[in-house]
């Protein structure tokens, strides 16, 4: 397994420089080890900060911490609890009591699969009196295929996933989703994280051309990570390819720094880092590992037999197509001649004369001058067809039909978006003055952070002999237990999604400007345990979720609030608002309309025309995949991770609920609660439609009883039954709403200046159209339930 393969240069460096800080007693127990390259006064990094910031905690490789045992109460059931309690002792806090069963199953289910538990699942769990009921719950959720959908989504935030290029054209990358599926699958199968890292950075180098390893295609797919960044395809049009190349390398360097290492390499692109012991050169040393990267956008992933079969089939189709194409061209010929004559007549006479010359008589200057005119003479078939007479048209249309029919018979190979290294002439990497791509300073070789090792590493030869091995060397260093950051950064990400806040609250910044860990010993214990388990992410989930710390109630006592309002010391669970995707998925799930498909090309949710118009590229050229290709409404009732992520058109509903921005690593989404969100959840067709479907589902299930309908609604949305008081409230509200609906329009204050607006009323709650007033009123109750705090907050 690759975790044991440590990059040779690193072993050498560590062997030379490793040391143990002399310590005694408890300190000795917590002794730290580090490749102390920074102690070498020749290391240029030693000049930074007068050597002051060089022994930052995160630079030291984590070692196994002793689990504290002093003063640990019986509430502690796992090692995690002991670490947490030992901190609580210092501030006089305790763990809260365990949350009740319904809260626990709701919390665990949202955390692991991002959906609400079903009513049956809840009832089963609540009545399950066996001692390992909770453990089995966690295991069941971890083995659900929906688990990868939830945790894959977290990872996609980290790697800035989107299905399009961004910028002016924002083209759709039609097979980028295979990378998304690779991520989902990796989480579901608990692919060891070191391997996951390695495959994304250098999967193409892990496989030789002849390999028959079934994983090899997945490894190529994994390098989609390096193809995900925003990319301006108009750069070539404007002679600014060099600038575009620079932007790609900046993106790869910064993203790799923050996603895997929690290091802010963006800060030292233009100058030495302002707070961390990172040199400007370090940015470029890291960048040099990617210097050979070129995009490989149509790599075929079929087996060679399959590919040959497809090629043979297509060749046969082509043989049949050939005579039909000839006929097709002939039917267009009269139109072509007319259009050519017309176009020529608009050119200056001298140009027409020059055009009449045979091509080999034109000198370079003439050709250059003629270029724009020749371009105008290169007609599209549709324009040519417009010139055909009524008599000529039928023959053309028939030929066109035959061509299309045969074209359809052709089969395409499965392709992916990935990268490879250039085989030769890898461009040199220079430090760039002020980060400006044209302002080159000294050349640098690939290298890791100087503070860890300022030397030039040996680059390993990869299995794929056509590649440089640079990225393999980088991947081996990153996915190593001796890397001080990798394991810590990942366990911190996992912790954060279970508590709403990481042990390090700045998950993408483990430097000086990041926030120091609240529980450094726990972080290291988890990191070491993560590596020891073979980098198993599911193992870390269990470590966290089986603890009493995770299972405690989120109720806030006066004393714990007063002592620790931010809950840094974890004397209660945190209450968390659903994130954007969880909210959308849960609204659909509760309404009963969520389809649990697991894979495939992204679906395009209906978006109002007014929103699409913000991106003019959409209307420019559908042939270049710049458009917005709305899928049938019903097919889009799937989990949000399966919806297209078009960089220029984030889905409005998700975006208002703090969707991540796909321009760079987003390890932590801001959580806000504001009025535009309220408007979206109240009025967006997604929720009005869901409310109606929810109401219909309840009406069908309990046709006779209002009370049963309300009970089911409460169980579905909140995981409990309605109280008498709540029931009375809903009963009253329902009657009032019915009353309003019956009398609306009579003094319609609310609707006075509303115009008919099909454009914003996407889907115009079509399902509502033939509903009775009673059904509408019940839909309104459901809409209120889906908007309530109890639904949207997870305790």
């Amino acid at each position: 397994m690759s975790q044991t393969r440590i990059c040779r240069f690193l072993i050498a460096a560590v062997a030379m420089l490793e040391f143990t800080i002399p310590a005694s007693g408890e300190e000795k127990e917590n002794s730290i080890r580090i490749g102390a390259a920074w102690q070498d006064t020749r290391n240029p990094v030693a000049k930074l900060w007068d050597g002051q910031r060089l022994d930052h905690w995160a630079l030291k490789v984590p070692i196994r911490m002793t689990v504290p045992s002093d003063g640990i109460s019986s509430r502690a059931s796992t090692a995690v609890d002991c670490f947490v309690q030992s901190k609580q002792q210092n501030v006089g806090l305790r763990l809260s009591k365990e949350a009740d069963r319904r809260t626990l199953i709701r919390r665990a289910t949202f955390d692991l699969i991002g959906l609400p538990p079903t009513v049956d699942e809840m009832l089963n769990f609540i009545s399950d009196e066996t001692s390992d009921a909770y453990e089995r719950l966690v295991d069941r959720l971890l083995s659900s295929p929906q688990y990868g959908m939830r945790w894959g989504r977290h990872w996609l935030d980290v790697v800035r996933y989107a299905d399009t290029n961004g910028y002016e054209r924002d083209e759709f990358k039609s097979t980028m989703w295979r990378y998304r599926d690779y991520v989902i699958d990796s989480f579901n199968t608990d692919l060891p994280f070191d391997q996951f890292v390695h495959e994304q950075i250098a999967g193409d180098e892990m496989t030789s051309e002849e390999s028959t390893d079934p994983r090899s295609q997945l490894r190529f797919t994994a390098t989609g990570y390096l193809r995900l960044g925003p990319w301006d395809t108009t750069k070539s049009k404007f002679d600014t390819e060099e600038a575009g190349r620079d932007e790609i390398l900046v993106d790869l360097t910064n993203t790799t720094g923050s996603a895997f290492l929690g290091q802010t390499l963006g800060c030292c692109r233009c100058h030495d880092h302002k707070t961390d012991p990172l040199l400007q050169a370090d940015h470029y040393r890291l960048r040099a590992f990617f210097a050979g990267v070129v995009f490989d956008d149509e790599k075929v992933i079929n087996s060679s037999e399959e590919e040959a079969k497809i090629a043979k089939h297509n060749a046969e189709v082509d043989t049949r197509l050939k005579p039909i194409m000839m006929t097709y061209r002939q039917t267009l010929q009269p139109g072509r001649e007319r259009l050519r004559a017309q176009t020529l007549s608009s050119f200056p006479a001298e140009i027409v004369k020059l055009l009449a010359l045979p091509e080999d008589h034109r000198d370079a200057a003439t050709s250059q001058m003629l270029y724009p005119y020749l371009k105008k003479l290169d007609f599209y078939d549709v324009d040519v067809a417009d010139q055909l007479t009524q008599a000529e048209k039928p023959a053309y249309l028939e030929a066109l039909r035959l061509v299309r029919e045969l074209e359809k018979e052709k089969r395409e190979c499965d392709t992916i978006y990935c990268v490879k290294d250039k085989e030769s002439d890898i461009p040199a990497t220079h430090v760039l003055e002020g980060g400006a791509y044209a302002d080159r300073r000294e050349e640098v070789q690939p290298g890791i952070f100087s503070v860890l090792d300022p030397n030039v590493p040996e680059i390993v030869s990869p299995k794929n002999s056509k590649s440089t091995g640079r990225r393999t060397s980088l991947a081996q260093w990153i996915a190593s237990e001796r890397n001080p950051w990798t394991a810590r950064v990942m366990v911190n990400r996992i912790w954060q999604h279970h508590f709403g806040r990481g042990i390090v609250a700045t998950p993408d910044d483990f430097g000086y400007s990041g926030i120091a860990p609240s529980h450094p010993e726990l972080l290291d214990w988890l990191a070491v345990e993560f590596v020891r388990s073979g980098w198993s992410i599911k193992h870390v989930h269990r470590l966290i979720m089986l603890s009493s710390t995770y299972r405690q109630s989120s109720q806030v006592s006066t004393e714990s609030f007063a002592a620790d309002p931010n809950n840094q010391w974890l004397s209660r669970q945190n209450m968390r608002r659903m994130d954007a995707e969880t909210l959308r998925d849960s609204v659909l799930a509760v309404a009963g309309s969520l389809a649990l498909v697991t894979t495939g090309p992204p679906l395009w949710p209906e978006v109002p025309e007014a929103v699409l118009r913000a991106q003019p590229g959409i209307y420019e050229n559908a042939g270049r995949l710049q458009g917005y290709y709305t899928s049938p409404e019903k097919s889009t009732n799937v989990r949000s991770i399966l919806l297209v992520r078009k960089r220029s058109v984030p889905m409005p509903f998700l975006s208002v609920f703090n969707l991540s921005d796909a321009s760079g690593t987003c390890g932590r989404r801001e959580v806000t609660n504001n009025a535009p969100q309220a408007l979206s959840l109240l009025n967006n067709p997604l929720s009005t439609r869901a409310a109606t479907l929810f109401a219909s589902r309840l009406a069908v299930a309990h046709p006779e009883s209002f009370q049963e309908q309300i009970d089911d609604a409460f169980w579905s949305a909140f995981g409990r039954e309605a109280s008498q008081e709540e029931f009375a409230l809903l009963h009253q509200s329902c009657r009032m709403i019915i009353d309003r609906l019956k009398h609306r329009g009579e003094n319609g204050t609310e609707s006075s200046n509303r115009s008919n607006d099909p454009e914003l009323d996407v889907g115009n709650a079509r399902v509502l159209e033939n509903s009775s007033v009673e059904r509408l009123a019940f839909a309104e109750l459901c809409r209120a339930i889906l908007n309530s705090n109890e639904f949207i907050f997870i305790e």
Partner: protein, 503 residues
């Protein structure tokens, strides 16, 4: 249990949902926020790291509450008339007699040798005189071409900066740069920075509104909040129908919104009764009340029919050519009047979708775009002035770059086909209002209008100047994002002020 559909209950408690009840309820909600929540919010601002502390603390419930300036401001709102596609300076506000004389002559070699030019587009060789006639306006004789006869009447209000330069010759990056300060996607826009820094006057409307039919090159990233919170994102208002997405429920649910929100709030109060110490619960309760008020206010602000016939005609909202931009300009006045901090107009139209991007047919293209915008812009300036708003409102007119004085070699050489290529090396913008000294020009280009020559100003300088007008220091206004101090102007001290603008 009887179904409530039968109308045989007449519970007097129902009236508790009436207005009086709701007022009491609101009072309660607000009291809740101010005591418990605010205490926690203050606590939350205590961060364990120094640099984060210096980002501006934002009230989680009301992120748009007004915030103090760094120093006294000259303006407190802005209308930014973004001219996407980029108008040609030598056909609008930068009169070049030498260019007019040398029509058809090659650009001198001394110009062609300039490495900046070599590095950018392949230009046509020959100079192309402006096909438009020019005249002087106002007390100082400001040169304006025939394209803007109505704007020209405001010559004494306009300050034209003729020496701008941009960082890219490509639309999307240059547009992102003009709107967000950088060439790449993902950074907050100018309007977002301003609302982050200052909040807004009206809590019932967004602080930053964008108006367009078709958006700018690069799409919504041009007016997005980037790493700032979504409350500071540009919100697209449409100029007919319900102005904001999701502002009102589908028509079939019309009329019961208040009852539904009341029910949400009652459920929330019951839920909260046993859960103290969670300010986010108060936050969401307050957000629903605000949403209801926003709904009412945004609906009424979009109601252009409430303006007098005279005003409507002044903006040309009933004329075919000016209707669209006229409505946008009129709406923008209504928005700033109601206390919206920043309104940004993108002039794009569905056809031609490229705005001012006249690679070919410069004459037709500029005629068309100017005709659509000239009268509405002039009306906006007149209207703002009449209402005393111009003094506190900055009006900015600019594209993402300018156009070459040479013709575009791709456009063909027929005079009627000729256009101009992109020119980031020198272009003109104008500003008005907010104590700006009008009737003047700042800086200049060379004799043909190709390079910014005297007092060249970058996009960052422009941004810095705009922040300054709002009383914000471009170094002092920053946000700590993933350990990095981010600013509109990028690295601190990388921008200077446009001097002499405010007299």
């Amino acid at each position: 249990m009887a179904l409530p559909f039968s109308n045989n209950h007449n519970d007097p408690n129902v009236t508790a949902f009436g207005l009086g009840g709701r007022r009491r309820f609101l009072h309660h909600a607000t009291a809740g926020v101010s005591s418990l929540a605010l205490a926690t919010m203050l606590q939350q601002q205590v961060r364990s790291n120094a640099s984060d502390e210096e980002s501006i603390p934002i009230d989680p419930v009301q992120p748009l509450l007004p915030r103090p300036t760094h120093f006294p401001a000259k303006v407190d709102r802005m209308i930014f008339l973004f001219q996407y596609g980029s108008p040609s300076q030598v056909d609008t506000f930068d009169y070049k007699p030498e260019l007019q004389k040398r029509e058809g002559q090659p650009l001198p070699d001394s110009y062609r040798a300039n490495p900046k030019l070599a590095h950018t587009l392949t230009y046509g060789r020959e100079l192309m005189a402006s096909p438009f006639s020019w005249s002087q306006h106002g007390t100082n004789g400001l040169w304006v071409s025939e394209l803007f006869p109505n704007v020209a009447k405001h010559a004494d209000d306009l300050c034209v900066v003729r020496s701008m330069f941009a960082d890219s010759n490509n639309h999307a990056p240059a547009s992102l740069s003009m709107n967000t300060g950088v060439l790449v996607e993902g950074k907050p826009s100018l309007g977002s920075w301003l609302t982050y820094g200052l909040g807004s006057v009206n809590q019932n409307l967004p602080g930053y509104v964008v108006l367009f039919n078709v958006g700018p090159y690069g799409g919504p990233t041009n007016f997005a909040n980037g790493f700032l919170q979504p409350a500071f994102s540009g919100i697209h208002f449409r100029y007919s129908g319900p102005p904001v997405l999701d502002l009102v429920p589908p028509s079939i649910l019309e009329g019961t919104q208040r009852q539904t929100i009341d029910l949400v709030q009652r459920l929330n109060r019951m839920h909260q009764a046993t859960r103290m110490g969670h300010p986010e619960l108060d936050g969401r309760i307050a957000a629903y009340e605000l949403a209801y008020r926003m709904q009412a206010e945004a609906m009424s602000i979009g109601d252009l029919a409430s303006e007098t016939k005279e005003t409507q005609d002044m903006y040309g909202i009933h004329e075919k050519e000016t209707a669209e931009y006229g409505r946008m300009c009129l709406l923008s006045r209504r928005l700033v009047e109601s206390g919206v901090r920043v309104v940004q107009l993108f002039n794009g139209v569905a056809s031609p979708k490229d705005g001012w991007d006249a690679h070919t047919k410069l004459f037709e293209n500029h005629r068309y775009n100017a005709k659509r915008t000239d009268q509405p812009i002039a009306a906006l300036l007149t209207d703002l002035k009449q209402r005393g708003l111009l003094e506190r409102t900055l009006v900015v007119w600019c594209g993402e770059f300018g156009r070459t004085p040479m013709w575009d070699s791709g456009s063909g050489r027929l005079r009627s086909d000729a256009g101009r290529n992109h020119n980031p090396l020198g272009f003109s913008i104008w500003m008005a209002g907010g104590g700006i000294q009008g009737g003047r020009t700042i800086g200049s280009t060379d004799e043909f209008g190709l390079f910014a020559q005297e007092s060249p100003y970058s996009v960052r300088d422009l941004h810095s100047t705009i922040l300054h007008a709002f009383g914000l220091g471009s170094n002092e206004l920053y946000f700590t994002n993933s350990g990095r101090q981010e600013r509109l102007i990028g690295v601190a001290d990388s921008a200077k002020l446009i001097s002499g603008l405010f007299g």
